[in-house]
């Protein structure tokens, strides 16, 4: 990795230097990377001019791997080492996967024991590592396109992804060496691309049927503000299910059975081809070369529609629920934006048309629109677009709560709450002298813990012994702008901040990520150190640049002494960069960050005052 250009001491690098920021759509079937070029968002092509990267990774004997189009042909010949649709396994345990028997992979992991892994010729791989291979491929593509290092990326996730799935995506970005600027929801990204393109105002619905996930979001668009009012969906429903339904129908019609993993993979590939052909043709032959002999069976469009009717109905029931959450009627929706390759299916188009009573909007490529929207947001987050007035106000898709006595859920953050948000609830002890409390964090809408998704278990220790019910333990849930949850707990009467131990139910621990990072470097130690050093220097540069631009804008808020302190911290950070020790550089950067805290607070105060003053003048 090349370093940022280092200027002479005292001479600041050009603050308007363009940063390479991209949007990445990490999809179930395929992934894309997009960036702003000459003021327009566009998807970046590979060397062969293809913008789509199939989300397929094949592990080879001897440590090699094939990614994307190179891996696809091996789906039928080497299915156990060729992983497709890995997104379905992100943040998921073995008992979450309904169709394990129909998948050709060798899953590792006990039911109820954390995220699944897959056994390949290259060893056991976590879905996070497999996704990181795809992300790294897109990162290299972007860096080759611009012949420059990547500053950061916005990565999209289905709106209905829960906390474990979001965290897994964030971990994958870290493994791929990508600075994550923000996780944003796929329908929201699509709305940005669509809304900015069409200068739309009013209520819009985004119907996003991808390869493995379904999302519905209801948004209000007003002058650059994208406010999500409600969101819903099904994180395990997508085009793959239509393929499976078609396979099941053909097998039932013909009485043929799949003999092994290779047959299963061939049937999936055949179903996908048949489904896609049915978009344009009335009748298509389903053709697969199975181990028991060739299979050929004609499929009419009507057969396919009937076989998948229940799936389409499931999407519409999620649409109804989201509209009710938004307290809107279907005729108040001005337009329905179609996103995701699966919305090309005629029966889906028709069902949405019938439900809303108006033709859905298809004028942007449904495969690209998510990546394009993410690129627009990435460009603004990186600070390239100083005039940009795009504002995203997104929501949390699923309620968050804690397990209480009797296996019941106490809801702390309700779904469709605008993020970032922080909410607290007080709990107490139920036994005299109780000094510890086990907390179980869950996500979902049901009243019973067993019906919700387990996110993490906490143990709160060091509560001073008191009578039962006397302790007041305040548990605070904070959901950040990425939609990720942090939980803090404190005993209020003694003021004792008790120790917390987090055990993510379906996530990776910091140790596991560190080990994976290490594994991903063949000559381990030295590369690790070189990378840590480069990243520490980059971070120091970022911090110095940010502080200088803040000083330029609002330096008048500081006294001479405060100003001198900050200047010397900047000098110290710049000086530390010439050291060969990442830890020392990080310490200097951290000192600068800490030193700017009060300044950041007064800058924010000024901004807020100006916002209010501006309005009051406006409304006169």
């Amino acid at each position: 990795m090349a370093l940022l250009q280092i200027s002479e001491p005292g001479q600041s690098p050009d603050p308007h230097q363009r940063r390479i920021a991209v949007g990445i759509d990490l999809g179930t079937t395929h992934s894309l990377v997009a960036a702003m070029r000459n003021g327009v968002a566009e998807c970046l092509p590979d060397a062969e001019g293809r913008v789509i990267l199939p989300s397929a990774v094949r592990y080879l004997e001897g440590g090699g791997r094939q990614i994307g189009f190179d891996a696809l042909p091996a789906q039928s010949t080497d299915p156990q080492n060729t992983i497709v649709s890995v997104k379905r396994f992100m943040g998921r345990g073995l008992n979450d996967l309904k169709d394990v028997s129909r998948l050709p992979y060798r899953f590792v992991g006990e039911p109820g024991q954390g995220m699944v892994s897959l056994q390949t010729v290259a060893g056991v791989k976590s879905p996070v590592e497999i996704s990181a291979e795809i992300l790294a491929t897109l990162r290299y593509r972007a860096e080759d396109s611009f012949n420059d290092d990547l500053y950061g990326a916005v990565i999209t996730v289905p709106a209905y992804f829960d906390d474990a799935q979001r965290q897994a995506t964030k971990d994958a970005a870290q493994l791929a060496g990508i600075k994550l600027l923000r996780l944003i929801n796929e329908p929201t990204a699509a709305a940005i691309a669509y809304g900015l393109d069409n200068a739309s105002e009013g209520i819009y619905a985004v119907y996003d049927l991808g390869g493995g996930t379904f999302d519905i979001s209801i948004l209000r668009l007003t002058r650059g503000v994208f406010e999500v009012i409600a969101t819903g969906g099904d994180s395990a429903l997508g085009g793959d299910d239509y393929d499976q339904a078609l396979v099941a129908w053909v097998l039932a019609q013909t009485g043929v059975q799949a003999a092994d993993a290779h047959d299963l993979a061939r049937l999936r590939v055949a179903a996908r081809a048949c489904k896609e052909a049915l978009t344009d043709a009335e009748t298509v032959d389903f053709v697969a070369d199975l181990s028991t002999g060739p299979l050929r069976h004609p499929v009419r469009r009507g057969d396919f529609h009937a076989a998948t009717e229940a799936l389409t109905a499931r999407t519409l029931s999620a649409v109804r629920k989201a509209l009710r959450d938004a307290q809107l009627e279907r005729d108040e929706v001005q337009g329905v934006v179609m996103v995701g390759g699966s919305t090309r299916m005629p029966q889906v188009q028709q069902a949405v048309h019938d439900y809303f009573g108006k033709a859905p909007l298809n004028n942007l490529n449904p495969d690209e629109v998510v990546a394009l929207g993410a690129a627009i947001q990435a460009n603004q987050l990186a600070g390239n677009d100083q005039t940009g007035d795009l504002l995203l106000l997104d929501v949390i898709p699923l309620s968050l709560g804690l397990e209480t006595m009797g296996g019941l859920v106490e809801r702390i953050v309700p779904r469709n709450q605008t993020i970032p948000t922080a909410m607290a609830q007080d709990f107490t002890t139920y036994q005299d002298g109780q000094t510890a409390l086990a907390l179980h964090v869950v996500q979902g809408e049901r009243d019973l813990v067993a019906d919700c998704r387990s996110l993490a278990r906490f143990e709160l220790r060091g509560i001073p012994p008191m009578a039962a019910g006397a302790a007041r333990i305040r548990v605070t849930f904070t959901v950040d702008a990425d939609g990720l949850l942090q939980v803090a707990a404190r005993e209020m009467i003694s003021g004792v901040e008790a120790a917390i131990e987090v055990k993510p139910s379906y996530g990776l621990s910091d140790d596991q990520i560190a080990r994976m990072l290490q594994d991903s470097f063949s000559t381990a130690q030295q590369d690790m150190q070189a990378r840590a050093l480069a990243e520490a220097r980059l971070e120091a540069d970022r911090m110095v640049l940010a502080t200088r631009s803040a000083l330029k804008a609002d330096g008048d808020l500081l006294s001479d002494a405060e100003r001198a302190t900050l200047d010397s911290l900047i000098e110290a950070a710049l000086a530390a960069k010439s050291l060969e020790d990442a830890k020392s550089i990080e310490a200097a950067t951290e000192a600068l960050a800490k030193g700017t805290e009060a300044f950041a607070a007064s800058r924010m105060n000024r901004g807020i005052q100006q916002a209010l003053a501006g309005r009051q003048v406006d409304s006169l």
Binding site: L391, L392, L393
Partner: protein
């Protein structure tokens, strides 16, 4: 004005029950435009932490201000008449009678039409209670009486949720 300012001060609106919803919506967006963490994504950790605090605080105030029940409860508390619903369960007899009638009607309602009819009745009662809150808080400064109305509103809100889940069961 700072993070400790009350919701009304933070939004720069008069400290009273009657509010213009459109103005609140607009003010919320103006404030988030300044404070949202997205505006500080390219800056240091300190700026991002401050942005997070403010953005959370603005969302919290907006949730409270835009919801009549929560806004009324908040004003009662500011005026020294806290709601303390768990310690104040005594309600007027007439109100309790009506609650019981509604419960019976909900148990008996077997159709969507019957539920919708009940829903309309409860909504009307809700609108009345909200108007009573406004009068007691803004015109008459009867804060203890307003707190009593807020507790009535809490009953009504809970009942509305029960109607909704019955509608859910009937597949609407």
């Amino acid at each position: 004005m700072n993070l400790q300012s009350n919701d009304f001060e933070l939004f720069g609106v008069p400290e009273r029950f009657a509010q213009d919803r459109a103005a609140l919506d607009q003010r919320w967006k103006d404030l988030q435009r300044e404070a949202h963490p997205d505006r500080f994504a390219a800056q240091g950790g300190a700026a991002q932490r401050v942005a997070m605090q403010w953005s959370v605080r603005i969302n919290e105030a907006y949730q409270r201000l835009k919801d009549p029940l929560r806004r009324a409860a908040y004003l009662c508390e500011l005026r020294g008449a806290p709601i303390e619903a768990e310690n104040n369960t005594a309600m007027p007899a007439a109100f309790l009678m009506q609650q019981m009638e509604w419960r019976e009607a909900l148990d008996d309602a077997g159709s969507v039409a019957a539920l919708n009819g009940l829903d309309a009745e409860v909504r009307a009662a809700r609108a009345q209670a909200i108007e009573a809150c406004r009068r007691l808080l803004d015109d008459e400064q009867q804060f203890a009486a307003a707190a009593q109305q807020v507790r009535a509103l809490m009953f009504i809100a809970r009942f509305e949720r029960d109607i909704e889940s019955r509608l859910d069961q009937l597949g609407q």
